[in-house]
Assembly symmetry: C2
Homo-oligomer: 128 residues x 2
DNA sequence: TGACATCTGCGAATGAGTTCGTAATCTGAT
DNA sequence: ATCAGATTACGAACTCATTCGCAGATGTCA
């Protein structure tokens, strides 16, 4: 296989998020979703998605007149990739310091903290 | 104050890391350090650092012939900023899901997991 | 069928980030 | 004083991401 994940740009990542949440979608679908946040033209989104096809970030079903796009990479895979990247670039490669910074500086509420702790316990048990 | 942190580019971040680790440094110092990883020319680093002065990412002591550069933003502050950014762009703004992904997908060893758990416990106690 | 809307493909313009060549300036040693 | 080496400043070139205008093709509906 050896399919290393491909680094999506910011705009590409926004589109991928829509595809992950909605499943297979048309350009119009994605545009409608993205328009809630920023204001962009149809052809802008179109162009980005075309580029993403070439890069292999999405796959396209061209059988119908209106093409259907689908994410080609797992959301988890991409998230892990981006985290690893940030870890290397800004945390000297230390997962622990990244996680601790995330916990303490972002406003994770008590419920989230408890969730994280439970997750951590489970993971440690599994690994032991 | 209202000094929102400034988004450093990748190259700028690499330089900031050197300044955070070494403290005030010259262009040559930074170049020497960066050369361990990638291969870049003196003027390339120089140019980047000049731009960073203009942006306010670093401050420069010009009293001597050879200027001394220093990071103008705290490392923590920048790390938090970048984490928040990634959280919004790739984790739908959820700190918990980012943290759990980071814990499970990067190879944090048992020692790191224990460290995180201790940190988490302390934080929850503080907040309660 | 004809008018109209929608979709795709193409190409160009813009801007940010990066890299480096060149010139000017300064320092220190001989 | 002068020369070699190091440093700074300036600007050009290049890539990549982003945005959009325009043309051509296709579908819809009166």
């Amino acid at each position: 296989m050896s399919n290393a994940p491909i680094r999506p740009s910011d705009g590409e990542l926004a589109i991928l998020r829509v595809l992950w949440n909605r499943g297979p979608s048309t350009v119009r679908d994605v545009l409608t979703e993205l328009s809630k946040d920023r204001d962009m033209g149809y052809t802008t989104v179109m162009k980005l998605m075309q580029i993403m096809v070439v890069k292999g970030l999405v796959v396209r079903d061209e059988s119908a007149r209106t093409h259907i796009y689908q994410a080609a990479q797992e959301e988890e895979r991409t998230q892990s990739f981006l985290l690893k990247e940030l870890m290397d670039k800004a945390f000297d490669g230390s997962a622990a310091s990244l996680v601790m910074r995330a916990i303490s500086s972002t406003k994770a509420d008590e419920r989230e903290l408890a969730e994280i702790q439970a997750f951590l316990k489970r993971l440690r048990k599994e690994r032991s």
